[in-house]
């Protein structure tokens, strides 16, 4: 709360610095802007920047560390009898102190030592806030005065401000990269823990997956088997079925929409197709379980086939429908981006519309089409809900689309739902699966990029 007020005051101060900087720059040259290196706005921004940023940094640093510092001081002030206590009981004590401070425990019913410590804590915090406010405000005012008094016409205020903007953009860009790296690293470390318990070779090449571990030492059975092959085969099978559905339908509809359909029809049909992408996947799952799976089953039985009630085919078909818009909408965009002059060139040579499409338009649009297909594959591999509902959980090693299979994402979900210990192989296996999945999709993307670049060279 206090910090918020402080930030508000800082903003007001920097606004004032901005106005004064601008005025001053203007006044220095009597309104003859040509004589200034930068526009007056930049001098204002420059002053505001020096007013706001250092103070804000101190404020952020304080907010990040004040808890740790105060608790260290409070622990140091505890009575002699508690010195040298182990970390666990200190933690308990700190917890009590917090409860008292928060008013969760009335002071009368608490240990007097704890109450005293809580008061001490509040006291320290008040001092801390006061000191912080003074330091921050002095910094802000100093920063403003320092820059305002130094404004002169040759000063490169614009360059300084632009450099700050650049730094901010770089910071924003690195947030995304750093988060990705962080996630990958954490998954990697957990996986390493897993591979200490289960050999890598067993995980990569084992053909049996049953992650149920014995809960107690005397329990019989279930020693756990962590061969990831069946579930990756299941993932590949379902994704393949989905792509068999989505790629031809998506591509053909994209070609129809962009090359043949009347503009009026296209303007209606394309948004309608895109609606498919907006349906929550759980709805597709319901559809798969209640409509598609029974239909496939009764159809299979009428042909004398043995169809599991939860089949890879049902999940794959519905998933295929779900990703049609990814293929069609993106492909339609790239096909449309092929310049009309190329089509005209082909028509003028006596090419038919289909020859033009096949031999000129599609090759020119190929990189984008490959991109859209890759996106669809990633979606298919990462999709969970439909598979949980329609394909089942049993890790059969099977290429038969009529059988029940399971996928990587589904296994990760089942491994991590419910109460888990964080050091059992069962839980850690989820991270190993995640890592492997990440590597697989990364590999696919690299291959796709290669393909695209190869054709880029040829087609541009």
């Amino acid at each position: 709360m206090n910090q918020l007020i402080l930030i508000f005051v800082l903003l007001l101060l920097s606004l004032a610095a901005y106005q004064m900087g601008r005025r001053r720059a203007y006044g220095l040259v009597d309104g003859q802007l040509r004589k200034l290196h930068s526009l007056p706005v930049y001098y204002g921004l420059y002053a505001a920047m020096w007013c706001l940023l250092p103070a804000l940094l101190v404020l952020i640093a304080w907010t990040a560390f004040d808890g740790a510092i105060i608790s260290h001081l409070v622990v140091g002030q505890l009575p002699e009898s508690l010195h040298g206590a182990d970390a666990g009981s200190i933690n308990l004590l700190l917890n009590d102190i917090r409860n008292v401070r928060m008013g969760l425990v009335p002071p009368e019913s608490a240990d007097p030592v704890v109450v005293a410590a809580a008061q001490h804590w509040d006291h320290l915090q008040r001092i801390g806030y006061a000191a912080l406010a003074v330091v921050v405000l002095i910094l802000a005012v100093l920063g403003a005065i320092f820059t305002l008094t130094r404004i002169h016409p040759q000063q490169r205020a614009r360059n300084a401000v632009e450099r700050l903007v650049l730094v901010m953009m770089m910071a924003a860009a690195s947030v995304a990269v750093l988060t990705t790296v962080g996630i990958v690293l954490s998954v990697l470390f957990e996986s390493i823990l897993f591979f200490r318990l289960v050999p890598v070779t067993e995980f990569l090449f084992g053909t049996s997956w049953s992650p149920q571990m014995a809960m107690r030492a005397d329990q019989v059975g279930s020693s756990g088997a962590f061969g990831a092959v069946p579930i990756f085969v299941g993932t590949a099978l379902i994704s393949a079925i989905a792509m068999v559905v989505a790629v031809p339908i998506g591509l053909l509809s994209a070609i129809y929409l962009s090359e043949y359909a009347a503009p009026a029809f296209r303007s209606v049909a394309k948004p309608l197709l895109e609606v498919l992408a907006g349906i929550p996947t759980v709805v597709y799952g319901v559809f798969a379980v209640l409509v598609v799976a029974p239909a496939i089953r009764s159809w299979g039985m009428s042909l004398g086939l043995d169809v599991a009630s939860e089949s890879a085919l049902a999940a794959g078909l519905v998933m295929g429908v779900m990703i049609i818009p990814f293929v069609s909408s993106l492909s339609d965009d790239v096909i449309n981006a092929v310049p009309q002059s190329l089509r005209d060139g082909a028509y003028a040579l006596g090419a038919t519309p289909s020859e033009t499409t096949r031999k000129v338009v599609l090759p020119a649009a190929l990189p984008g089409i490959v991109g859209s297909i890759m996106l669809a594959i990633s979606r298919a591999i990462g999709e969970t809900m439909i598979v949980v509902m329609a394909a089942g959980l049993s890790a059969n090693l099977s290429f038969n689309p009529l059988e029940s299979v399971t996928t990587v994402t589904v296994q990760i979900v089942t491994l991590l739902t419910g109460d888990q210990e964080f050091d059992s192989p069962k839980t850690l296996a989820a991270f190993a699966l995640g890592l492997l999945l990440f590597l697989v999709t990364l590999g696919l993307n690299v291959i796709a990029l290669r393909v695209v670049n190869k054709y880029r060279e040829q087609y541009e």
Partner: protein
């Protein structure tokens, strides 16, 4: 300023015809600027193409107004006129390329060897193989140079073997004056060529289909004088067998390559006649204004 303009234009014309100076021309043109009917002989004895009452509309805007014009056999017809007057639009009627433009409507009869190619039931695919076109802006396919030229012969099955195809590609590139520059990089993308080279590639691509009529929309606007000379030679050579319509902004070029010249103005065909007569002795005042540089 005024005099220097005059001088350059006179020099330019003297390389082609000994044109009379502006004063004399004013005396020769007799038809008033307000008159919009076509002056001169729009018809020839044995036409390859005969256009009757052509009107072209883009939506409600009329871009070509009631044009009657013949293209003779073994003839190069030049079309000149200020920018936006409808030259490209008219040219595109002759191989039905206006079909590809939404909202474009063409009325009238266009007889190619006495067959109306503007009729609904005409199949435009063989028509366009017969009437080839080179566009105002070069538009090579994003394929290799070889593929660009082989595209037409392939889809029409004009070559039986790869060797035959190679031959067609080479001869087309040679005639377009591009062979020596690209013979070592036939597998490189056509889009990697310079603008002028791309235009010659498009010309090679068009003649590889062996069209009988060739429509050229400012084919040399991006070319240097040497390539231009090569293309003009090619036009002269093609004329021995075929008919050619060429749109150009260069009056010297029109004078050099064409036998007849048509002058368009805001969608009207103002004057048509022998090239020499048009450039030395125009009858319509608008034509005269244009070729003496008084227009725009």
């Amino acid at each position: 300023m005024e005099t220097s303009m005059n001088e350059t234009q006179q020099q330019a014309k003297e390389t082609v015809f000994r044109a009379p100076d502006r004063g004399d021309l004013q005396a020769t043109a007799t038809v008033d600027r307000e008159v919009r009917r076509t002056v001169g002989e729009a018809r020839v004895a044995d036409p390859r193409i005969r256009c009757n009452d052509i009107n072209v509309y883009y939506g409600t805007a009329q871009a070509i107004k009631n044009v009657n014009l013949d293209v003779g056999r073994n003839e190069v017809l030049a079309m000149i006129g200020p920018s936006g007057c409808g030259k490209s639009t008219f040219l595109r009627c002759l191989n039905r390329m206006n079909d590809t433009i939404d909202g474009c409507r063409v009325t009238g009869d266009i007889l190619l060897d006495e067959r109306n190619i503007n009729a609904k039931e005409i199949d435009v695919v063989p028509l366009r193989a017969q009437v080839g076109m080179v566009f105002q802006k070069p538009n090579p396919f994003p394929k290799s140079i070889w593929e660009n030229v082989a595209f037409g012969p392939r889809i029409h099955g004009l070559a039986r073997s790869r060797a035959q195809l190679d031959e067609v590609v080479e001869s087309s590139l040679r005639r377009a004056g591009l062979w020596d520059e690209v013979k070592d990089r036939l597998d490189k993308p056509g889009t990697g060529l310079s603008g002028g080279q791309q235009q010659r590639l498009c010309i090679a691509r068009t003649i590889a289909v062996q069209p009988e009529v060739i429509l050229m929309d400012e084919p040399c606007s991006a070319l240097d004088p040497i390539s231009t000379a090569k293309i003009e030679e090619l036009i002269d050579e093609l004329r021995q067998q075929f008919s050619i319509c060429i749109v150009t902004h260069s009056m010297q070029q029109a004078a050099r390559v064409s036998q007849r010249t048509a002058y368009f103005h805001l969608g009207d065909l103002i004057e048509v006649g022998n090239t020499e007569q048009i450039f030395t002795n125009p009858n319509h005042k608008l034509t005269e204004d244009y070729i003496t540089g008084r227009f725009g």
